[in-house]
Subunit: 505 residues, 2 copies
């Protein structure tokens, strides 16, 4: 991987001076085209050996390009800037909107991928590498060009350079302790890097290794690669994904769908409901104030047919919580800032911080429900969404953000009854629109899409809870019960884990 | 102020039970109307005596209303959550978009207003109170309904309640040490509150004091006031500001305008330019790494006619800085998330954290330039913008965010020359649009508006720097010089201040 980057590449000053102006002009022209069309975005990720020149290279790019349409992102230690949110949260926040470029220092290659490596935990390392690979494929599918540069120096060069920098009082500040550690274990570090680059050397986002002994060579190499990649990327604008459309999914040939088999009618009279409601709300409130809860967070996701009782269930949850501890997010049409990002971005932005609840009224599953049925998303888009969603939820779970998903199921007679009631009750008239009536005509398509969804996104870490909701009392109780039990299970798991960790010491 | 809130107000259970359902229905109906029209927003600010029930009241409101369209915000200590940004930054971030409601705990009444009070520094206190009053008038003018509730308890009631809560192990956690301190100095605290409420008891946002001995009384009082205020607010939707339009400003009767008197042509040849540029960029880079700079930040604001050389000057600034230390923000049309907020919101969101630069290519001054001339803003809107802008910049300065504003001035012949050049040079063709040619026809209107702007927004803490820019070399040098000198002056001021503080000890 690094052999070709230790050959002593060199570009003389004359050659550089001769080429730079034309290169800069071409880059600017491409950047403005990218910005004008505002259909795609670019992420330039700079990684590599210390002192190889990540900062200098970024400065050079900013000098060549128009800095008004570029954002740069360096990342502090994980814990500081994300209040316990998943590792990838801050990278999602740093993605460029369409027409823009982001330069990331290290990016997701600076994170926990190295922990697995250092702990010799190959499985953990592999999980991280695969997570990264899936993330980068998603970016490619979403029209984000990812350019990954590894700025390389041999051990001797690194040593020479660190000495030079330390000797000069004006530059000594640039050498950190970890750089000395890196040099000490150079071979081991590089072997780890090689493994990682190999594992993430994707067709969608290959690594570009650049020898950095000579800065003219470094600049021209990165510049030319960027130029070609940009030209190719801009030329593709307007094209839809150039992948073969997968054939659409088929309903079971016997017509029997998962949701058809669900029991919808359960009995629960108002008195029992009110008694149980009070108990469950007290229980949930207690859990939200459990010391152990300070290290976790909860995402509650509600899906279901219109008028299935999502709003009512949400009110029974929020009614049990302190207003300072939750946020309710109704999912409507995306804003234009959201449309300018990969589709999951608008959900990532609402991931709760430690100790908090986010309740989604409709969710990212709209991608494989309404967007699939109305054709807002093309087949390959909603087909890959199943995996992208599972990734998203796995990352939440791994960061100790509990994901609780509810499908509230009613039958069409019940829906009709509720629609009519809404049209009559004053303040409920806002809850019924022409869309609701239109969607109702597509009942069967929704049942089919939902059945596929549940089958493909029920995971051990984020299972679907199917709630028969013709009786709204029963549905609300079941929702609260499930929520409490899920949090309790997680709290118990933590405690045993903590005990075990404690024993070890 | 509090006399009427110590009468022992009480509502019996029966009365409450009888009124609540209708009240809730009316509130929901109004909330949905607010949300449907999405033209105005509501901020409910809860302040008052400890244990009077801010949390309970907020919970009640969330129970009555639809939590999907309400956000609640409690604020930690200032330093924690804003990386050294101005006090009001986090409150701007917590403003509800149109159609939404925010509930704030304490809000801007929890902040430094009390420091001036405690230090018996009446001037400081008054400045804070006036800052708050201007902020609240701005909200009203921007169509944000602000409802301020003071939840009141007498000293005896507070004492009784704190004892009851402490005695019960389930609620003891709710009593914090500062509550005991508050009780100890109840009279002094209340006198301070009275002064503050009086000073901020505006026609646009009056205080509503509510006795909280009886929770039924508390709930019905807040509920009814909210209902009436919402009804009045929603009814006003669609109306433009119901203020008398101020007569437009007039150009000087002798036709002599500030910018007409500016010298535009200065000489600087390329060799001298390049030598000075290198020196100044080194100087700026040094300043950005000065230890003292870690406690400040810089906002650089560029305005001027099209093709005046803003972009070029910005590149010479960023060229001197580490890419990780700055952000360039080009101001274009607002996004729909920005349109849903008070007009200054989209600039507040880019206020730099400590140790960082934000460079604006066009700025909040568009309000009194293009928006005034094109009629995007109505007369009272851009007229009040002068004061709103001065407030904004004063707050930045007070938070040690240096504001450096440049007007790059060229004459129309120079502009024509540059427009033509742009149309010829390949990668520059993106920089010239039909708008540019249209604006050019309004040259004189822009000079007039700019002259008014400079006159009304040149303040000691954020003066305008008028740069003759027919010679772009001279302009760039002057910009860098001014920027360096301004930062150096601030650094020197800090050092003397620190020394003085040191002596004191």
């Amino acid at each position: 991987m690094f052999e070709a980057a230790e050959l002593g590449h060199h570009i003389d000053k004359a050659t550089y001076k001769a080429e730079e102006p034309g290169l800069r002009e071409a880059l600017l022209d491409l950047q403005y085209q990218l910005h004008e069309r505002a259909e795609r975005s670019v992420v330039i990720l700079l990684s590599g050996v210390p002192t190889a020149g990540k900062g200098e290279m970024a400065n050079k790019l900013m000098e060549w390009l128009d800095p008004r349409h570029i954002a740069t992102h360096a990342f502090g230690t994980h814990s500081q800037d994300d209040a316990g949110r998943p590792e990838m949260y801050r990278f999602w926040r740093s993605l460029p909107p369409k027409g823009q470029i982001s330069i990331l220092f290290g990016g997701w290659y600076a994170g926990p991928i190295w922990e697995g490596e250092q702990q010799q935990d190959f499985a953990a390392w592999q999980r991280e590498a695969e997570k990264i690979a899936r993330f980068e494929r998603m970016l490619a599918s979403e029209g984000v060009l990812l350019l990954k540069f590894w700025l390389h120096l041999s051990a001797d060069e690194l040593k020479k350079r660190m000495k030079a920098l330390s000797d000069n009082p004006l530059t000594a500040w640039r050498i950190a302790d970890e750089d000395h550690v890196y040099l000490k274990h150079y071979q081991r570090n590089l072997e780890g890097a090689r493994k990682l680059l190999m594992a993430t050397n994707l067709a969608d986002a290959p690594w570009r290794v650049v020898e950095c002994v000579d800065e003219n060579f470094r600049a021209l190499t990165v510049g030319r690669q960027l130029k070609d990649a940009l030209a190719h990327h801009v030329a593709q604008s307007g094209q839809t994904e150039n992948r073969v459309d997968a054939p659409p999914l088929l309903a079971p040939v016997d017509g029997l769908r998962l949701l058809d088999t669900l029991k919808l009618d359960q009995d629960l009279d108002k008195k029992d409901y009110q008694r149980e409601l009070e108990l469950l709300q007290g229980r949930l409130n207690g859990l939200s104030r459990d010391p152990g809860f300070r290290n976790m967070a909860v995402v509650v996701a509600f899906e279901g047919m219109d008028a299935a009782g999502k709003g009512g269930s949400i009110r029974r949850i929020t009614g049990a919580l302190d207003v300072r501890s939750y946020q309710v997010v109704p999912i409507a049409a995306p804003t234009d800032e959201e449309k300018a990002q990969p589709w999951l971005w608008r959900f990532w932005r609402h991931v709760p911080a430690r100790g908090r609840f986010t309740v989604f009224d409709r969710t990212w599953y709209g991608r494989v429900l309404v967007e699939r049925i109305e054709g807002f998303a093309r087949v390959p888009e909603w087909m890959r969404a199943y995996n992208e969603i599972n990734d998203f939820e796995m990352q939440l779970d791994a960061a100790n953000v509990i994901v609780v998903k509810f499908w509230l199921a009613i039958d069409d007679e019940e829906q009709l009854k509720r629609f009519k009631a809404r049209e009559e009750i004053g303040y409920k008239r806002f809850k019924i629109t022409d869309d609701d009536w239109r969607n109702r005509e597509k009942w069967s398509q929704y049942i089919e899409a939902a059945s596929d969804m549940i089958e493909r996104t029920s995971t051990p870490y984020a299972p679907w809870h199917l709630i028969g909701a013709n009786n709204k009392y029963h549905a609300r109780i079941k929702v609260l019960q499930t929520l409490c039990e899920t949090i309790e299970a997680r709290l118990a798991r933590r405690q045993t884990a903590d005990k075990a960790a404690h024993k070890k010491k």
